[in-house]
Symmetry: C2
Subunit: 247 residues, 2 copies
Amino acid sequence: MGRNLYHFYRVDSTNAFAARLLAHGRKVTEGTLIIAEAQTEGRGRLGRSWHSEREAGLYFSMVLFPKAPPSLAPLFTLGTAVAMHNAIERDTRLDVDIKWPNDLLIDGKKMCGILSEIQAEVDLVRTMIIGVGVNVNHESLPEEIAGRATSLRIASGRIQSRLEILLEFLEEFERLYMAFERKGPRTIIDQWTRLSSFAQGRKIEIHDGVRKIAGVTRGLNPLGALRIEQTDGRVEEVYSGDLVKWE
Amino acid sequence: MGRNLYHFYRVDSTNAFAARLLAHGRKVTEGTLIIAEAQTEGRGRLGRSWHSEREAGLYFSMVLFPKAPPSLAPLFTLGTAVAMHNAIERDTRLDVDIKWPNDLLIDGKKMCGILSEIQAEVDLVRTMIIGVGVNVNHESLPEEIAGRATSLRIASGRIQSRLEILLEFLEEFERLYMAFERKGPRTIIDQWTRLSSFAQGRKIEIHDGVRKIAGVTRGLNPLGALRIEQTDGRVEEVYSGDLVKWE
């Protein structure tokens, strides 16, 4: 990961830049990394924006060519959350949680988001772009998100090294990615389940765009879907959605 | 469909052009159509090439924004095959078959191929590009494919109208696409099953990239997967692959 690198002082969005590289058929090698000091149109899931203050955060995208159908793509996103969780904990000694499916939280507040995009035939992933945004050294956050967002600096009381976190992350992610190629989803599922307080026995409510699903979490299935035991005892397996309430 | 149109005398590939349009965030409306008189790098599934002789065939791509997860994307490809089947039969009076999943055949020889590509979040299709190539007025085909490919002209003995076929197709496809939005996959599945001689009771062998699956076909499941009854009686549901042998 990261042997091929594009570094920007400012770009619209590192994912968008990666998509343009790929659309033009440039020779892009697996693991190509796009990093920006600032994003003018940083993006999150479902068209939301990501606040990308200059030189305060880590904003980067990785280009992957996983040999997998689109249905396995969510696993790489879970793996990204696991790798970043481990990198931040090791580097900052902060206590990091993973909120399903792939937000990282400290003290219940989000400081890392992940946006994965694939370009695929209907049954085969051609390219995957995983974008990561981490609030590292933000001294404060915009009023409209300050209630539910934090930064590593705010949480730890001191400046943290963006570079060290990035390098730790790349190493962790490469290890998980290779484990996936050798052994399939197992390693990622196991680590995610161990690290997320949302994996087991948590009362939650999810909106999947169509329905609300409420119940108690019962771990991930082998494809990375969250198993939710509803009040009537039925277990629902949810592949995607927004976790809107939790206890 | 087709209210917004790009027409090229020559382009590398209409799908590739559509991908570049989308990657640059241009305002692309749903149903945008890209047509080329010739393609220099016409593409088929799984990285194969598509022979695109100048002004002899129909080479075009449609841009869609279906409100569906990636798992439903194959249905739009089946629908494209159905719509083109109907357009060609109506216009040429030829007898057209659909080979699973979406090749069109006349007398057992291929004269139309479809390549669908999606750009998606891991759980949501953002854009879908459906590319279609039809051999219309080719007088002959390159030696290496002549044994298994044909054109409407070769099969009918007369020149056919590319424009009329295209207009019929757009009308048919629009109807199916709207039926999908209202009623879900049902209409597409039903029509495909009725039109393809491969849908029911056909002895076939499929390679899905990993395994060979041999047996007798038993229709499509509600998501568009082909049901195959194997010799031991087990029914396998196959979402993708190459049909390599059939009787």
